[in-house]
Assembly symmetry: C2
Homo-oligomer: 509 residues x 2
Amino acid sequence: MSTKKGGGGAGGGGKKKKEVKKETKLGMAYKKDDNFGEWYSEVVVNSEMIEYYDISGCYILRPWAMEIWELLKEFFDAEIKKLKLKPYYFPLFVTENVLQKEKDHIEGFAPEVAWVTKSGKSDLEAPIAIRPTSETVMYPYFSKWIRSHRDLPLKCNQWCNVVRWEFSNPTPFIRSREFLWQEGHTVFATKEEADEEVLQILELYRRIYEEFLAVPVSKGRKSEMEKFAGGLYTTSVEAFIPNTGRGIQGATSHCLGQNFAKMFDITFENEKGERSMVWQNSWAYTTRSIGVMIMTHGDDKGLVLPPKVAPIQVIVIPVPFKDADTTAIKGACESAVYSLNQAGIRADLDARENYSPGWKYSQWEMKGVPLRIEIGPKDLANKQVRIVRRDNGTKVDIPSADLVEQVRMLLDGIQANLLETAKQKRDACIAPINTWDEFTAALNEKKLILAPWCDEEEVEKDVKARTKGDLGAAKTLCTPFDQPDLPSGTVCFASGKPATTWSFWGRSY
Amino acid sequence: MSTKKGGGGAGGGGKKKKEVKKETKLGMAYKKDDNFGEWYSEVVVNSEMIEYYDISGCYILRPWAMEIWELLKEFFDAEIKKLKLKPYYFPLFVTENVLQKEKDHIEGFAPEVAWVTKSGKSDLEAPIAIRPTSETVMYPYFSKWIRSHRDLPLKCNQWCNVVRWEFSNPTPFIRSREFLWQEGHTVFATKEEADEEVLQILELYRRIYEEFLAVPVSKGRKSEMEKFAGGLYTTSVEAFIPNTGRGIQGATSHCLGQNFAKMFDITFENEKGERSMVWQNSWAYTTRSIGVMIMTHGDDKGLVLPPKVAPIQVIVIPVPFKDADTTAIKGACESAVYSLNQAGIRADLDARENYSPGWKYSQWEMKGVPLRIEIGPKDLANKQVRIVRRDNGTKVDIPSADLVEQVRMLLDGIQANLLETAKQKRDACIAPINTWDEFTAALNEKKLILAPWCDEEEVEKDVKARTKGDLGAAKTLCTPFDQPDLPSGTVCFASGKPATTWSFWGRSY
């Protein structure tokens, strides 16, 4: 089948190699610092998060990934329901003329749109597009539903799949032709309400990354070039992958202004009885978030999962010895799992008899489980368990009586440590620069560049043109809300004009 | 746009008519017993469950439908997780050669498959199908993942959208080109395990219909003609719509036997070290379930929602009088909502000032909310509230002090009453028959026919041929597990051969 390709992925793993590795399931062939692309492809497959699919750019999400997605969804969905978001489901398909109604918007997506042209053996009367995002799917109906100020705000969210048939370097989670996301679409009477919600949602995205995935992100505003096609302004949370020196957009919260409202005629009668045009937002985060988390924390033994999103937080492994009382050991393991589960901790027992304890240690390290508990005859005799941390490998023996309390503290500690460590690594990459020479030097060193900028679109175009090459051009990542001082007289690193902001620049995913 | 069509739906509502009705939002133009098709199209739109979309056969699911779907999902997902089902997400797309691997299976779906042939302006190298169901998407990977008996059982479930580009009479929820469902796919070492699970899942489907949607269903087995294409046998829960005299398949739980295992080479090494072939099941229920519920309980005032799935179970409406203390009335309403919410009851306040109480009564009746609470000055003075039931219109005044307890009892009563009433109506349609003449008479009377049958495929084909006409041919709905006595010597109503079962026959959706 011509659409079948090899591993693809961040550098391409090669399917055959992976199959062999999966058989043995022990250890990783690639090191994160030596060959990041291969390492990533290997870790997503060996941890059983991803299976490569026979259509390039499409991936199978296995339970080890989907359970994380469900945990994130549970958090986010509850939060947006507090904000009175309502669940909707709009069709997967959109007609050509509706899709093309907003010109800037469709320009941003057109090359990636997948078209259905046949059903069974018959040609459709006209091709139908698969949604790359749902602005044009939804807004004709918003126009119909909204008549009066009493119909506002309208707050719509859907969890669904979308398709963007990209041709550049597909990578599991990070860049795939189909992915899962939520998309929020909201409509307000005033810009103030829209502006406020943009930031409320952005803060939820920050929490997904920092509190759940333990990935440090910068909140900021996108440049005119990088904003959402057809929108007014875009805010985002931006992460950074030190190994590749690339920024990565974590999630976006757009204020669409009144542009779509004009195109789709979304107006309302205000309290004075006059027709007014609405203000709109749209915002989304995707399964990409899982990929960013893997890239941030994973190591040469495999995944490292933050406890808050780990499907299994504690794996309990019996360590029988030849003369030891295996029944008592198994009993102690079961009792530990039971106590932890009762306390709301996701613990599981690995009682498989056909694998050695050592093999199991490696497998659960590969899968990134935050804590491993080992119970052998000596532990049994001492009424203790051995606990091993995945993040830093430290081992402690703790009294069985203190199990729940100690595990809880350790999980909290790991969660905090992962974020702190990632933050230190990210911060070490931040390079504040002032001149073009400093900029190109920092770019070569794969830094997250913080540069004084005149904030002009033409200048960003120019920087892109001047830096293009095999690794991709540099561009703005965001203008962070958290701004360093900008002494008066500071000039733009690229144009020499007066600088108006500090912005993050670099290559990106 | 050529794909844009009018209302479509169960008899076609005509879009313009609906738009006008939506404006007024008061009352229904059609009666359930007079024009069921128009009534259904009207009720799904006016209750704000559905918006017709500009691609025929695709519908927008609005919050009033999606919140029901979420409640059903919450129940079912928790139940299957107890059975150790794991969440997966497989791609929307499947290649032509994989889709066609199991011949009987693809024959059943081929005319309805939607094909993607282009991305942007480029033709794909080969067309790619959108999943109509995921057997062929998943099973090549099951073959890869399953090596040993220790990898079994494999239990996979996904919540997703599927596409079947049908051309016959699209109807919201009931028959749409895209719909939402869960699909479970499980793999076992033995037929016994597969057989057991088929019935465990079927029982969960019965509970969705009877306990949640208050729709009576019959559990049974499908005939050879009606079973899932490529499977071994199919069980289902079957509902019946008295108004149209049509059976409707509620959900199916299939044992696939070893047929797909052969085609996709899914084998394992058993405990004796021999290669064995696996046994497989697949099972699904869809958003159709919501449509069956609407058809069963709705009346000439609109929807009637069973309390267990009603997004709002109790709507509280202030009834101010000119001289009355409106602040105190509003306070009493808020207090009622608060107490009910605290008790875990989904109650809401309709405090809109631009609508009269009477208009609100009609609207919430249209939306099918099980209980309405009215609080006016007299109620306030008497420390009581008036409660009105949606299912039978009865009104009671109850002391405010007993509010939570009484509401709980009433909701339970409505839930039970809806099922019981629907059961009586359904049972009144069951026509046990013995001869061909009785069969055709009962078919004309739109009965749910229970007939002694020889269970031969050729005979069902013959019955279909002999009954075809404008309303569609008669066919088997299921052979119910709950079998009446079959005295020896009973003969098949259609072939005169010895009967082996009682089966339900009729026209169906």
